[in-house]
Symmetry: C2
Subunit: 470 residues, 2 copies
């Protein structure tokens, strides 16, 4: 039996998902008859020019759903279809996540999530992995330092110092599997039932973590420079212990916080003992206009800034490595309250990242990505010129998304629906608000461009223009 | 300059640590003069027959502590020692963890932690990693399913079903970076301020997690079959929502819970709505006597057992992959309260493990380890025959440690100290008690043997015999 599988190499659907879907469809439609034998995973892999793990994953899924059967020493056979009682469709998100699922009928999806993976240095990553998995590195398979391996923390310190102006020692750094895990850890360090002020709109995931930890989240409104100082000062009852802010490129508003506001926030923190700013240095790697502004952490002389950064955004989402930089005063609290939590990142992965950082690959990768994203950004800016009369633009100086606000006061829902009719997906701003029902109806949509090719950006803008402007 | 480094290939100190320590010592003792040039990391690696990452890590550490300096395009030079103001010793655990640090002056360390890594299938692991990091697996670098990749969960389900008699669907499985992380997640799922009954003595790390999550931990005493049912039933005010138990091989007592006690515990759970047993299937892979007893989860017909297992113990501690099996009733709670937490395990690592499981490597590895550990176990049993007159033995039917209790009533402290004088490290039982001060003084010590070679076991027992028996 020869399988001819029409691969969609443009889309984001993984190969194994495509193989699995194709064979399943063929079985359901009766094109593959029960009892007939499938090619072995090896033969199919060679035939399709994919890796064997790809065909194995496809078969495994078919097996687990009962479409095929494995007969020892003989191979894989199509199951008798009449025995397939009520085989339900795999639930949504089973193989594919939101980002991968593709535009679901949309021609262009301006998703503000996801990154461009076409330029990921697969070869470098593979080579480093291979070199690390050698026998004289046996110790790497043992449990490591709960805070993260010291050399990696030193490499992160060195990067943060030179690229972001962060002042710290490796002893202040805690490496963990993703921002959400580290915010869980931070909640333990700060103690239970705290009050946290958050920018509104904000990064909802962080908000959910704090709420799930039993924290009270107090939303503070934004002005054009970032979190409103008056709004923050007005939070008196209860009084926040910390404020969570994104000075580099606020998510979602895209505001780059000016130095004056940073100083005002630091003054707020210094007013009371044990008050903190949590600086999420989101999107700080990508800036298109003006000089990069160093992290707020570097301005802090009082040990009141908790810094959080990640490699998931700048390298790849699957690299589940983020880091906290705690002020010295909180390190003791960490050791006491959470020091017994073993590291959530395998030592092997930490060492791959260590090599990636110290051999200069990370810097090269960031430079390449900066220029790729700059190209996409400029392409989008050019195409959005036609929208000038009808829309305000914001957030375009950094990061991987921009905001468009309709001057005529169309609701975001109307904008989203009109775009959807033109097969374009855009995202309403209200999803980022902590209490969307309490905020005035928005006329703003968010357009992300990291994952799109330039021709998709141009096409998307043309379709949006027809839907919104003409 | 040619460096001759006396490697200790027997000990567990990593190569890079040895190189770093050696060069540091040479600088401090003045044998390496300031201003002199070190060989490049490449040359040193070739010279020492180690990988280049090893020499790089050693140099990185020396750099970060100021012992050497990097001069662009010229290489590494010894720093001027008089400028090394107050270079403090690296804090304990900086490069090396408790397990790796070696016996710290002990001839033999019967550490109950750690595993035998000599038989780790490095080649297989490397080959799988290499095959996975190919370009057509680009999707692996994207964010995955928060619960863990579906094919991996299916492979875990299949393993648990055949090896442990666990009944579940992949939808009930949550993959996470280590037991402690998953217990944090479980705490979110069960809700705040719960009461948990725990075996006493127990796995202290789990106890610490619950306490750090604001839970009240109620210790329940043990009888020879496991957690005392009377003791558990007596916990009325407050009444525990769940009991945390280790039926396969209780840590540290080594009790294999008989079926009757398992049924009694299930009955306790069924008495009230929303009561649970948390089954930590610790050490279940290694059993030396009698037929393996399936997991308690497989006996549960009421959806009241939460099962937790890990690959850190059975493959390698650095493999930070554990899994929860939730009863169907708690899956909705998980999705509501913690479903937004992204997976803490990278998709790449999940796929390496997936291949390792589905290609049969895991089964082969377990079989090999079983026979290796059985050999060590039998060796220890033979050597401990001489202790029969003075000691009771327990916990020897499974797992990777045994307990010795002095019949004459020597305190554990006396046993530990006498052993230490003979250069042997053993571990007192009291460290595993939740409130050690409330428990009667113990005469019991714990001897782990997973990491020791047979000759070390024999030597250790001979030394102990002199210290305790003669």
């Amino acid at each position: 039996m020869e399988l001819i599988i029409p691969f969609d190499s443009q889309g984001n659907t993984p190969m194994y998902e495509q193989i699995y879907q194709h064979i399943k469809r063929e079985i359901r439609q009766g094109n593959l008859r029960s009892g007939s034998r499938l090619p072995s995973t090896r033969v199919l892999a060679e035939h399709l020019k994919v890796s064997r793990s790809t065909t194995q994953m496809a078969y495994e899924q078919l097996l687990s759903e009962g479409y095929i059967e494995a007969v020892p020493c003989r191979g894989y056979f199509i199951a008798a279809i009449e025995e397939l009682v009520q085989v339900s469709e795999p639930p949504a998100g089973r193989f594919v996540t939101e980002e991968e699922a593709g535009p679901e009928g949309y021609t262009v999806d301006f998703s503000p999530r996801g990154i461009d993976l076409d330029s990921f240095p697969y070869n470098t990553w593979r080579k480093i992995s291979k070199n690390i998995l050698v026998d004289d590195n046996k110790a790497l398979f043992l449990n490591g330092d709960p805070q993260g391996e010291y050399p990696l923390r030193e490499a992160i310190r060195s990067y943060l110092h030179s690229a972001r102006g962060v002042h710290c020692s490796p002893d202040q750094i805690i490496v963990g599997a993703g921002n959400e895990y580290l915010l869980m850890l931070l909640s333990l360090i700060l103690g239970s039932r705290q009050v946290i002020a958050m920018e509104n709109p904000t990064y909802k995931q962080a908000c959910q973590v704090f709420i799930s930890q039993g924290y009270l989240v107090v939303p503070v409104s934004m002005d054009k420079h970032g979190m409103s100082i008056d709004g923050l000062a007005a939070c008196q009852n209860p009084e926040p212990r910390a404020a969570y802010i994104m000075p580099a490129h606020q998510h979602p508003l895209g505001i780059v916080m000016p130095v004056k506001r940073r100083q005002e926030l630091l003054s707020w923190a210094y007013e009371k003992e044990d008050r903190y700013l949590i600086e999420d240095d989101y999107d700080s790697e990508f800036r298109y206009k003006g000089k990069p502004i160093p992290a707020l952490q570097g301005m802090d002389r009082g040990g009141r800034v908790i810094y959080i950064g990640t490699f998931s955004q700048s390298i790849a989402p699957a690299i589940r490595i983020s880091f906290l930089v705690l002020p010295p005063g909180l390190i003791q609290e960490y050791k006491k309250k959470a020091g017994f939590y073993a590291s959530t990142v395998s030592r092997i992965d930490q060492n791959i990242l260590y090599q990636f950082l110290t051999e200069g690959h990370y810097e090269r990768h960031l430079n390449r990505m900066r220029s790729i994203y700059k190209g996409k950004h400029d392409c989008l800016m050019g195409a959005l010129k036609a929208f000038d009369g009808d829309f305000h633009m914001a957030g375009e100086h950094a990061g991987l998304h921009v905001l468009l606000t309709h001057k005529g006061g169309w609701s975001e829902q109307e904008l989203v629906e009109r775009a959807a009719k033109a097969q374009v997906k855009v995202y309403g701003l209200s999803r980022y608000f902590i209490h969307p029902e309490l905020n005035p109806p928005s006329s703003t949509v968010v357009l992300g461009y990291a994952k799109l090719k330039e021709e998709e950006i141009l096409l998307g803008c043309r379709l949006l223009q027809e839907a919104w402007v003409s």
